[in-house]
């Protein structure tokens, strides 16, 4: 089945230690999104790629970076995680910007010690 896959499902890191979260998709969608979701809150969009075009949200901290080496993969890099970065990180895709719907992966739960 075509799907959005996130690895790992649970990630533990130490304060200030860089961490990379992975997302892959078999849907061949043009757009990939990264969201941060804190406990029982709405997902907050960090950035998205439209093909190779990177679009950063204005309020996304510089500590968060992303890479999309090809259509299938997208990575979220947190350069120096703080305690406030502990959250669920969700990857989503859509066929195009007018998708219309987004398909979400299962998420990666990040814990910062």
């Amino acid at each position: 089945d075509a799907m959005v896959i996130q690895n790992p499902r649970y990630q533990v890191t130490q304060f200030g230690k860089p961490v990379t979260l992975s997302c892959s998709q078999t849907l061949n969608h043009n757009v990939m999104y990264w969201y941060q979701q804190k406990s029982s809150q709405a997902p907050k969009l960090l950035f998205h790629y439209y093909d190779k075009d990177f679009n950063n949200e204005a309020d996304t901290p510089d500590n968060f970076q992303s890479r999309r080496p090809n259509t299938s993969f997208c990575f979220l890099d947190i350069r120096s995680p703080g305690l406030g970065d502990a959250a669920m990180y969700l990857c989503a895709t859509s066929r195009d910007r007018d998708g219309p719907e987004q398909f979400f992966g299962p998420g990666t739960r990040l814990t910062v010690l």
């Binding site: 996130q6 709405a42 969009l45 007018d98 998708g99 219309p100 719907e101 398909f103 992966g105």
Partner: protein, 117 residues
């Protein structure tokens, strides 16, 4: 600007009873509306969408939603609730503007549905 309001943080209903989770929206242009469900420690699962056409939209797991343009509402409904429907429900509206914001989803804050046996 696009926005979504879910006025209830929690909805409690007995199994077998009908359920409604409320959503109102504010958009410029035609509304593209969505409902997603999230189970604990999982991603969001797509339930249904309204793009155009019939105001009553049927989705997964027996859920449906009614688009009401005059009331700018898109309430989620199910005739008979199940305990397994207990989850966090998000209403969302899609940005239909131009440029890089096209396709962005604006989420409501979520409604926790609890179905009692």
């Amino acid at each position: 600007a696009q926005s979504v309001a879910q006025p209830e943080d929690q909805v409690n209903v007995a199994e077998g009873n009908p359920l409604t989770v409320k959503c109102t929206y504010s958009v410029s242009g035609n509304p593209y509306l969505f409902w997603y469900v999230q189970y604990p420690n999982r991603g969001l699962q797509f339930l249904l969408k309204y793009i155009t056409g019939d105001n009553l939209v049927k989705g997964s797991y027996g859920f449906e939603a009614e688009f009401n343009k005059s009331q700018t509402s898109f309430h989620l409904k199910k005739p008979s609730a199940l305990v397994s429907d207990s989850a966090l429900y998000f209403c969302a509206v899609r940005d239909s503007g131009r440029g890089s914001t096209l396709g962005r989803l604006y989420f409501g804050r979520g409604t926790q549905l609890t179905v009692w046996p």
